[in-house]
């Protein structure tokens, strides 16, 4: 006979009371029993309600004492998912910690360091970051990956939280998260789409009218932003409606869809139907449907036939996001590079290897009847149109993503050379210091098990690029200097400058002459000190990634795209961050922005000094140095303090 909830509740209360009575130094001895009984309750129906009744006592009783959850104000929403997935003890404590936060948020408990609002904000953030738990999708990956009963516990927790939290605030948080993400215009929009869908499910009569309106823009962008597409959701009907329309109506339909795409970066499936229709019947209207500027129009007219060929081969409802890529590609004038047109044409008929074909199919939605070539061409259009929208996904392959982005900007011909090499030949070759490196002969790399939620081009290239980069790094590993000095120019291309400086010595890990490092960066990059040399090609630099408390998390590869004045007249560093989440909080109130400070789509930016404080290595042109000595000591000292009090704690300073 299973034990009744009452018995367990009593046992939990006893355990909690024993813990409460225990001396502060011996709490850990009594915590185990609390966790055990709590675990039994979590698994029971209404168990969370019973636990919540005591949530106001958790903290003072010592439930979290001496563990990672001890200080409520130091908890971070992004870490919640990891604990919930970790199974066992971390899950149990995480659930209890969320209940503590809920008690604070609802005013049932007070905390000296966390206010009601902070707790609510924290929980909202947690919910938004874990939408997949809240509204599980039935995708293959979530099925395969989740074989434990833990997602059930997590789901229970989130259902419980949502029933206690104000949906208003949650919707508000969701919308600002959607805004933040769409501002960066990533190629992969899966997360954005699932957030919009969630927000849609959660809005109700109580929601703020403003929020509803704003959300409506996003929902429409996905489902049908024009009156006609809104009316005829079904693509077949929509298509047959198009046939009967006058030129003027088609123009206004085109303008309407293009406007939605341009404001949100999201493309409705109808848009693909429209583009295909226009391409066949009225190619003259394509410019309206793409919302092209004059440069884009000129490029379209110049390459009319190729564009129509690509539309035919690659623009389908399933690849609709490529329409945005196509529009931007035309405006960037990429097709005017002579190798691009033949390069794209080659992809349409490329003989793709079976395993690559399989990967491409798996990464796209099933049941759309697409060929692997269509997927690949659409992906290539996207990368060429949105070079800063390339992301590394869930892989530690920032170098490869940075390469693809860089080539898409400045060497599209090269990119179009290596895509078929990988897709058709299963190999990419680089020459490094006179020796050939063939990816097909290499194993390992940073991502032997690539997470496949990637754009098609990355999916094809990253496994090769990652291995080549690793191989190059291992060939220079023993040279006593940061290997990026030699590897970056060889890997990314000759436009990476040969001068190189690093904040710490890679052999000893000691930070040497940091003020000199800072001054050199100013003298080579800051327009006030570098004799006005402009940054011409993106500069691949290394940064210390720190968390919200400034604690070092690791090293990361990004590219500086430009240095320019922000709206307030202060110089800012604009950069591309391949993690597709360019506005994480790096601590010490250093928070990269992705919009509002003059960023282009996909760029992040920081004030020059704040950026410098996280930099650890950069390239420079030794012939374009300005006046390092002129850099104000106050600036150097400020950066030195920021560095020492964040990542610097993990290094020895000499």
């Amino acid at each position: 006979m299973p034990q009744s909830t009452g018995v367990i509740v009593e046992r939990f209360e006893k355990a909690l009371n024993d813990l409460d009575q225990a001396q502060p130094f011996v709490k850990s001895k009594y915590q185990t029993d609390v966790y055990q009984e709590a675990n039994r309750l979590i698994e029971m129906e209404d168990g969370l309600e019973h636990l919540y009744k005591h949530a106001n006592q958790f903290e003072q009783s010592g439930v979290f004492q001496d563990g990672p959850w001890e200080s409520a104000d130091k908890l971070q929403p992004p870490l919640v998912a990891g604990s919930l997935k970790a199974k066992g003890l971390p899950t149990i404590i995480e659930v209890l910690s969320e209940l503590r936060m809920l008690a604070i948020a609802k005013g049932d408990a007070t905390n000296p360091t966390v206010s009601k609002e902070m707790a609510e904000e924290f929980l909202n953030e947690v919910m938004v970051l874990n939408l997949d738990i809240l509204f599980p999708d039935a995708s293959e990956s979530s099925r395969v990956e989740d074989d434990s009963g833990n997602s059930e516990k997590a789901q229970k927790l989130f259902q419980f939280l949502i029933s206690h939290l104000s949906s208003k605030a949650l919707v508000r948080t969701l919308i600002s998260e959607i805004e933040r993400l769409t501002a960066q215009r990533p190629i992969m929009i899966k997360r954005i789409v699932s957030m919009i869908q969630t927000a849609k499910q959660m809005t109700n009569a109580d929601s703020e009218p403003e929020d509803q309106e704003q959300l409506q823009t996003y929902i429409a962008a996905l489902e049908g932003p024009s009156p006609l597409s809104h009316k005829y959701k079904d693509l077949h009907t929509y298509r047959s409606q198009l046939k009967d329309m006058e030129r003027n109506d088609l123009i206004s339909e085109s303008v309407s869809l293009a406007k939605s795409m341009r404001t949100t970066g999201l493309v409705a499936p109808h848009h693909a139907t429209l583009i295909r229709f226009l391409s066949k019947r009225m190619p003259g209207l394509l410019t309206y449907a793409l919302g092209l500027n004059s440069k884009g129009l000129a490029n379209l007219e110049e390459n009319d036939e190729l564009v129509r060929q690509m539309i035919k081969a690659a623009i389908f409802p399933a690849t609709r996001q490529a329409i945005y890529g196509l529009a931007l590609m035309l405006e960037r004038g990429v097709l005017s590079h002579s190798p691009v047109a033949p390069g794209l044409r080659r992809l349409i008929e490329l003989d793709i290897r079976p395993e690559v074909r399989k990967d491409l199919y798996q990464a796209s939605q099933a049941g759309e009847g697409l060929t692997a070539n269509s997927i690949l061409v659409a992906g290539t259009i996207q990368v060429l149109g949105q070079p800063l929208g390339v992301g590394q996904g869930f892989n530690p392959t920032c170098q490869a993503a940075r390469g693809i982005s860089l080539w898409a900007q400045h060497a599209p011909g090269f990119l179009l050379e290596i895509i078929p090499r990988a897709a058709r030949d299963g190999d990419i070759d680089f020459t490094f210091e006179g020796q050939a490196i063939n990816s097909q002969h290499l194993s390992g790399g940073l991502a032997p098990n690539l997470h496949t939620e990637l754009d098609p081009v990355s999916l094809v290239l990253v496994p090769h690029l990652d291995r080549i980069y690793s191989e190059m790094m291992s060939r220079v590993a023993l040279r006593g200097d940061d290997g990026h000095r030699w590897v970056n120019p060889a890997f990314y291309g000759n436009w990476v400058q040969k001068g190189f400086n690093s904040a710490f010595d890679p052999l000893t890990g000691y930070v040497l002459d940091y003020p000199g490092f800072v001054k050199l960066f100013y003298a080579t990059h800051h327009p006030e000190y570098n004799d006005d040399y402009e940054l011409i090609y993106p500069n691949p630099v290394g940064i210390f990634i720190t968390n919200v408390h400034g604690k070092l998390l690791g090293l990361h590869a990004i590219s500086i795209t430009r240095i320019a004045e922000g709206p307030d007249g202060e110089y800012r560093v604009f950069f591309y961050n391949p993690n597709n989440d360019g506005s994480q909080n790096w601590g010490q109130s250093i928070e990269p922005s992705v919009q509002g400070n003059g960023e282009e789509e996909g760029e992040s930016s920081l004030p020059f000094d704040e950026f410098t404080s996280r930099l650890y290595a950069f390239h420079y042109n030794p012939y374009e140095q300005g006046d390092a000595y002129a850099v104000d000591t106050a600036i150097v000292n400020k950066i030195l303090t920021l560095a020492k009090e964040s990542w610097g704690k993990d290094y020895t300073w000499v």
Partner: protein, 422 residues
Amino acid sequence: MELDQMEVNTSVEQSEKKPETKPYLTALIGWSLQAIEAAARMERPFVVVGPPEFESYAEKHDIRFVGWDFNKLNEGSDQLYKKLNALGVEVAVPLYEECVEWAGALNARFREEPRIFNRSLLLRDKGMMKRKAQIAGIKVGVFEEAHNKEDIERFLRRVNEALLKIDGDVLDPIHVKPLDKAGSVGHLAIRTVDEIDQINDTDFPLLMESHLDGQEFSVEAFIHKGKVQFLNITEYVRLGYSNFVPASPSLREKRPLIEEAVQQLVDAFEIEYGVIHPEYFITPNGTLHFGEVAARVPGGHIFELIERAYGFSAYEAQILCSDPNTTPEELELFFPNPYDYQGFAGCLMVHPQREYVKDLEVPEELENHSYFEKHDLFTPAQGKVAERIGFGNHYGTIFFFGEDSEEMRHLLKEYEQYDFYV
């Protein structure tokens, strides 16, 4: 803290405080939250001498703490006495195996009785321990110290020759264990010559002894002024996996015999204060064989089981008995009648039975059994299981409590087979 730094500190403190500071401090040698809790509950002023890694924890919780590396033995070792003396410590209580001789050395200085240290060394060398027992007329198995693999092979052959085994007979096993490790750490049964190769050259010197048949049990004896004040018998169901307190009626019948043997051991080893934890084998006809003895907190959660069965804290008892100043009245008041227990308290230590685990399965019948009290098993982080060292590092423990020792034994046996980690 560096040694030279400490020197500066102690000299300053020494000049401020007299060694006879009252009330005096008790030093807990080792790190055990239960012991610290007991000392605090007794409202005794105390200081913990523990591995330096606990320093920040102690500081956070205002526990008086002296960081000490027990593995480092050199001319600086005297500093510990000086430091503790300056603090006003008069009693040292060992908690771990590795701390026994440190506590011995300290108590020898505190009481100005050098021999206390030598006695504590006796408890730290299984070879010396056996020899001492043998000299005192206590029944032990045949034993020898081994310095290399040839010694072991010779011992295995000689023991079996003595047992009149001839070629082709299955050999009687011998047991080897390191001279100075706790309990079952490094213990190995050798049945064939080939098995000798499992032993690493770095494990020597070892104690070898002949196999003893019979039921194994342990005794926790609390000793004050050389007299056993309280004696608990812990019945082993399977060594290292399960035991319960107090002993079942059949073993309890032998209690007078056991009490006599333990007092004999205490006398032979000249143990005056503290707790000892000897292990014995008893044959069906009532012959006792002495296995080994330790003078510290026993493993197998035995102290917790004693507390559950008898209702007194064994940690408090250890501290009380370690202090020569404790009065007979205090002891009288503290210890219950050994026949006066509230029930049988048992535990099962669970270690995964496979190499790779990813989940925990605790059967409902177990949780619903009226003897079931609690467990501390959690779903493990998925992964490879570490090899078991001695009988330590078990993944978790299941605690039982009930009226009937037979039902207890049955439960412990039944679930010992159960695969909790899958």
